[in-house]
Subunit: 189 residues, 2 copies
DNA sequence: AACTAAAACTAACAAGTGTTAGTTTAATAT
DNA sequence: ATATTAAACTAACACTTGTTAGTTTTAGTT
């Protein structure tokens, strides 16, 4: 079975539409049409459009924050931690390519859960920054500006959802290795 | 004078709003309110909401495509060309921080000009890819996957609009240098 | 066959959408 | 002063929005 419940089907169908046009431009009638039913019928399964967005974004944000904490608290060296962070993003994006678009572009349309989302994101970024600073202090990383490094890594990892779907026949593990190499060692010979 | 014309003021005001909530979530009444007038009055200066979006996006896309062509056709080496591309993004973003959000997130809401925009973007990306491939062939860059390199660089450069505004007191030139270093040489010691 | 519950339906709502028509105001040139 | 014009206004339009109420259909159980 592709979907666990009808509610799950609504959420996943919505994620596909949200990715193409964004939350605000997708109507309940669009979502219903994509499922072959009428808009009013959606409300037998969900309580609002907002709930759909919230379910898509919060579950992903929690996954990232949780996994990041585990990586941060492991006793691997900093370079290995960074590689694990890259793998976390590649794997999560590859399993949830549509939801990642909402996570990146539609979080500002959260209402009740906006604050909670922002807290999760801040935790995630702080942990990421911690890994980088640790790497600089331990002389594993160059003595550069940690903010610039964080920005550069995070930007690339957050954009994976745009890029991964274009490469259907992709060896995920090989790609993770290639990307880690480029991000950590650069492209200069 | 901050604005050249009233139309220009509408476009810049809209860009600020589009950046916060996206094109679809911003209404003509929102734009009018931000300018202290009524929605209908906007139509003395512009012909549609769509025209506003188009003016924001197309002018930026043309700037990038033009400048990229100049960089590509220069006879600098590949590393220098990459540094110039980084500078192009940093400078353009720093001069047009709000418009860059629409360029990145709202291009799919273009109607008449969507095709033209896609053509410009394709040209830009092809030229960028060309610079990278040239660098690999000339042994200036590692012999890695050029698609992965392009993706990584482009993702970071395209995200500058999120990050630059957070660092108000930023030395643009110094930042350009730091970013080039991280992108080209990596973060590994 | 009768009952139940899930999930679809039709119809409608109140509010909000981009946009137009026609009018008034404000500023400038004759 | 008068005429002109740019740019604001009010009022309204046709349509779309998320959502609710009430009803019918579908499918499984007794």
């Amino acid at each position: 079975m592709k979907y666990e419940t009808r509610k799950d089907e609504i959420i996943q169908t919505s994620a596909v539409l949200f990715q193409k046009k964004g939350y605000s431009a997708v109507t309940m009638r669009d979502i219903a049409k994509a499922m072959g039913i009428k808009a009013a019928s959606l409300y037998n399964h969900i309580k609002s459009k907002q709930e759909i967005l919230s379910e898509i974004i919060i579950s992903l944000a929690e996954q990232f924050t949780e996994q990041m904490k585990i990586i941060k608290n492991s006793d691997d060296n900093s370079i290995d931690k960074l590689k694990q962070i890259v793998a976390l993003h590649v794997n999560t994006t590859s399993n949830n390519q549509f939801g990642m678009a909402s996570l990146n572009n539609d979080w500002m349309h959260l209402e009740a859960e906006l604050e909670y989302y922002l807290k999760l994101r801040k935790n995630y970024e702080n942990d990421f920054r911690g890994v980088i600073e640790e790497g600089i202090q331990g002389s594993e990383l160059i003595n550069g500006n940690p903010e610039v490094m964080l920005f550069s890594l995070l930007s690339t990892l957050r954009s994976l959802y745009i890029w991964l779907p274009k490469k259907e026949d992709l060896d995920i593990e090989k790609f993770t290795t290639e990307l880690s190499l480029v991000l950590i060692n650069g492209i200069n010979k």
